[in-house]
């Protein structure tokens, strides 16, 4: 029981309630300290010089004038970040992305950095650094990068996943194939086949807080880093490795985080800040501008996707294929592979094949963005599914229900599913009032499904009971969406005490064992599991203390509703002992009372969602207004329903921006044209309807409370759901995301011209 990971269908008293979050007051009063809110005596201001070229050889960097400028304390280049990676190409890629090594690989790539006494001096110093570039041919489009003769981004890359292994350099770093059955035979059985190509443009996570850190390295080899991150333990390990520091000597503290969504799972400026501090022997604060965030952190991929699906007239899919080309920026990654893995995961398919291409271009290194790669694959697949349903004259929800994956289905990426929630989300969508609401003129409705894997990982929790019986719960997963409240609820549930008696904090790296990133929708799943086990360990200690107090055997003590109770008629004269009483007596019963747990929380359980969307499109301007939006998703168990709903709504809101407006625009010169929120338009409140939510709870068998991750899946269906809605509204199939007003107008006009030509 104590450490049993399996779901036990426990009845809850506080889990599932909507309590106030512990960080709420600090955040609404401005007391919360984010990445840029740390200060140290004698701190310097860091600034980074970035390449104006998409691709260039760096022949020489002359920093002599900058170094002589009064107030400049250090200038660093790649020479100050030597290669200590011992042949690990993945680590060298991280280092090279943080500071160019001989070649600038994209517009915005860091080539040098300075630390100075103030921002003005730092900016002046950057202007004094002379970089001699030899501009090289560049490529920024994913399809162009795959053509013969395209400029090669990384000459050392040979395409993995092909036999025989190639000997020539290619921009295709990896080809990943998934599937089973015989797709050609399956298409031969189909009565109707729909085949389409789709494109999505590159988008940024758009977190409001830019990357920021305060680094301090001492001559004795110790150091500290205050940073906005999704995983300070991983940042510690990576930075220590890149800078040749010992892990235990680098203390990393995570600040409050103003959004990450995957973009703060990678280091960008942190090794540079540490290198500056080491050279200057002073603390260095480095804060990115918004321009830098867009040009030099990790947006998601732009993609080019072909989908072909065949079905019988009675609505059974007989075969499905997808070719998915994802641009990874300038460094090899696995985003095309993940697109291929997730593309058909919602469906029970006899014959299926998906091929993912990971493609290098002269754009910034791509990072994860909430269920990375799945939204673009779902856009292509769910758009094609909708067209296929229309071709055979079947309701799109019914068509999906008929083909939905279920327990026992072999997933398109290989394994066989256990209990999953795609069917129930579709049934809920079918029965939802939204599906039956009338639509007006120029309005359209769309729906789509989405899948994400979820995962757990290494997790460590401390639970300490104070002398007054209140509880400090210390976790190592960064709170990106209310997880401190959820963790406190879980501890309160196990201990049988009020939520208000538990305070959850995120520890720095010297105060707790390693914790993996808050990514993969793992925070509440994995730290929640560790909290359950840590609380149960503490209860064991509490029972022992009560037994000692009563001088009876511990087997005769049970923990009930926050109290130790002596069992058996022979002890009926013993009054129960509360957690407060046991805590107060603890100095004389054995000392502090605590519970700890370290766990590898695997078995996170896959996640599914179905979204419904209504839009109104102005046929004169092409502007789309989302007028109603509903998210239905399986949460396994919603520990704190507010924050589960918040994740559902947040994913949908980001998906709406991605679907309708957001887009990296590159010029012919390979430079990003819109690195700011004025020209890169994320949705604001007035762009969004109230996003309705419906939480389904299909327990994850591999978590004691049945929890599944909820943070990512909600961004998977919106591109497709909105594209289906817009296509239904305007009567033209939209195949290019974002569906910005010019793109919609162009599609409407082209359709009109085709119709007139046909008439």
């Amino acid at each position: 029981m104590a450490h049993d990971k399996h779901f036990t269908n426990q009845e809850f008293k506080v889990v599932g309630t909507r309590v106030p979050r512990p960080d709420g007051v600090d955040k609404v009063t401005g007391r919360a300290r984010y990445g840029a809110d740390a200060f140290a005596p004698g701190q310097l201001v860091g600034a980074i010089l970035r390449s104006p070229h998409a691709h260039a050889k760096i022949r020489k960097i002359d920093a002599s004038k900058a170094e002589k400028l009064k107030g400049v304390k250090a200038v660093v280049t790649s020479a100050d970040l030597p290669d200590l990676t011992n042949g690990r190409r993945d680590m060298l890629d991280i280092l090279e992305n943080c500071m160019a090594r001989g070649r600038a690989l994209y517009d915005g790539h860091a080539v040098a950095a300075v630390a100075a006494i103030d921002a003005e001096t730092a900016r002046k110093a950057l202007k004094l650094i002379k970089v001699d570039y030899e501009v090289l041919p560049h490529v920024t489009d994913v399809d162009e990068a795959m053509k013969p003769g395209a400029p090669i981004v990384q000459p050392w890359v040979r395409t993995a996943g092909v036999d025989p292994a190639p000997t020539k350099a290619s921009n295709v770093s990896q080809i990943s194939t998934f599937g089973h059955g015989d797709v050609e035979a399956g298409f031969a059985e189909a009565h109707v086949i729909v085949e389409r190509s789709y494109k999505t443009e590159q988008t940024h996570q758009g977190y409001i807080e830019p990357h920021a850190c305060l680094a301090s390295v001492n001559p004795d080899g110790t150091g500290e880093l205050w940073v906005t991150t999704q995983g300070h333990f991983v940042f510690r390990n990576v930075c220590a490795s890149l800078l040749g520091m010992e892990v235990a000597k680098l203390k990393v503290t995570s600040s409050e985080i103003g959004g990450g969504f995957g973009g703060k799972t990678h280091v960008w400026i942190e090794p540079v800040a540490l290198a500056l501090s080491r050279k200057a022997n002073r603390p260095v604060k480095l804060v990115m501008t918004r321009d830098e965030v867009f040009r030099a952190t990790g947006p998601t991929c732009s993609t080019s996707v072909d989908v072909k699906i065949g079905a019988t007239r009675d609505g059974i899919i007989t075969a499905a294929t997808a070719t998915l080309r994802y641009q990874d920026g300038a460094f090899p990654a696995i985003w095309g592979m993940l697109g291929a893995m997730t593309s058909f995961a919602c469906y029970d398919l006899k014959n299926v094949k998906s091929v993912g291409y990971d493609v290098l271009v002269n754009r910034p290194k791509v990072a994860a963005y909430r269920a990375p790669s799945a939204p673009m694959a779902a856009f292509g697949v769910e758009s094609t599914i909708d067209q296929l349903a229309a071709e055979i004259g079947m309701d799109p929800v019914e068509f999906r229900i008929k083909n939905a994956a279920k327990e026992g289905t072999r997933a398109s990426y290989g394994p066989t599913y256990g209990p999953i929630g795609i069917g129930p989300t579709l049934q809920a969508a079918k029965n939802h009032p939204h599906m039956k609401a009338p639509l007006g003129r120029n309005q359209g409705r769309g729906m789509a499904c989405g899948f994400w894997f979820n995962f757990g990982g290494q997790t460590c929790v401390d639970l300490n009971i104070g002398v007054d019986g209140t509880v400090n719960l210390t976790v190592g997963t960064v709170d990106v969406g209310g997880s401190r409240a959820s963790m406190a609820l879980i501890a309160a549930e196990e201990l049988g005490i009020p939520y208000e008696r538990v305070r959850c904090n995120v520890a720095d790296t010297v105060s707790l064992g390693h914790n993996d990133m808050t990514e993969g929708s793992r925070g509440t799943f994995s730290s929640g599991m560790a909290t359950v086990f840590a609380a149960r360990n503490a209860i064991e200690v509490l029972r022992e203390r009560a037994a000692r107090t009563w001088d009876i055997d511990v087997s005769k003590v049970e923990w009930q509703d926050g109290k130790a109770v002596a069992m058996g008629s022979e002890h009926s004269n013993l009054s129960s002992l509360s957690i407060e009483e046991l805590a107060a007596a603890s100095p004389n019963t054995g000392g502090p009372i605590a519970g700890h747990n370290e766990v590898v929380a695997d078995g996170a359980g896959v996640s599914f969602a179905t979204h419904i969307c209504d839009v109104e499109v102005d046929p004169e301007t092409g502007k789309t207004r989302v007028i109603r939006y509903t998210v239905i998703q399986d949460a396994g168990k919603a520990i704190h329903p507010d924050y589960v709903e918040g994740q559902f709504q947040g994913g949908a809101a980001q998906g709406i921006g991605w679907a309708l407006n957001e887009e990296y625009v590159y010029g012919d010169d390979g430079r990003l044209q819109n690195p700011g929120f004025l020209d890169y338009r994320i949705p604001v409140c007035s762009d969004l309807p109230f996003i309705d939510t419906q939480i389904l709870e299909i327990p994850n068998p591999n978590h004691p409370y049945g929890v599944r991750g909820v943070g990512e899946t909600s961004i998977v269906p919106p591109l497709a759901a909105i594209a289906n809605a817009v296509s239904n509204a305007v009567g033209v199939r939209m195949t290019h995301i974002p569906m910005s007003p010019p793109r919609i107008l162009k599609a409407i006009k082209a359709h009109r011209a085709e119709s007139e030509a046909a008439a």
């Binding site: 990943s176 963005y369 990426y413 066989t416 995962f455 695997d602």
Partner: protein, 81 residues
């Protein structure tokens, strides 16, 4: 004995094999024997790998036991946001 399925992107490290038969009680033993047979697989393990046992994906817990007759897939390690 387990029939371990390899996703296509891992097969080049296993001389092109789509599946391999390995007798292993745990993930750790499975991976050790896999590397013994295909030394090039070590690099893939270093880059990150996941093992699916009866549909549950394990990324880190190499002590997980593999039941008799279990469906076993070797997958690349996934990343999240």
């Amino acid at each position: 004995m387990h029939e371990v399925q390899l996703t296509a992107s891992l097969r080049d490290a296993a001389d092109g094999a789509a599946s391999v038969t390995i007798d292993a009680a745990t993930i750790r033993e499975l991976l050790r024997k896999l590397v013994e047979r295909y030394p090039r697989m070590q690099r893939r393990l270093d880059e990150g790998i996941a093992v699916s046992i009866n549909g549950e994906i394990y990324r880190d817990n190499w002590s997980e036991t593999i039941p008799d007759g279990a469906e076993v897939f070797l997958l690349p390690r996934i990343q999240g946001g």
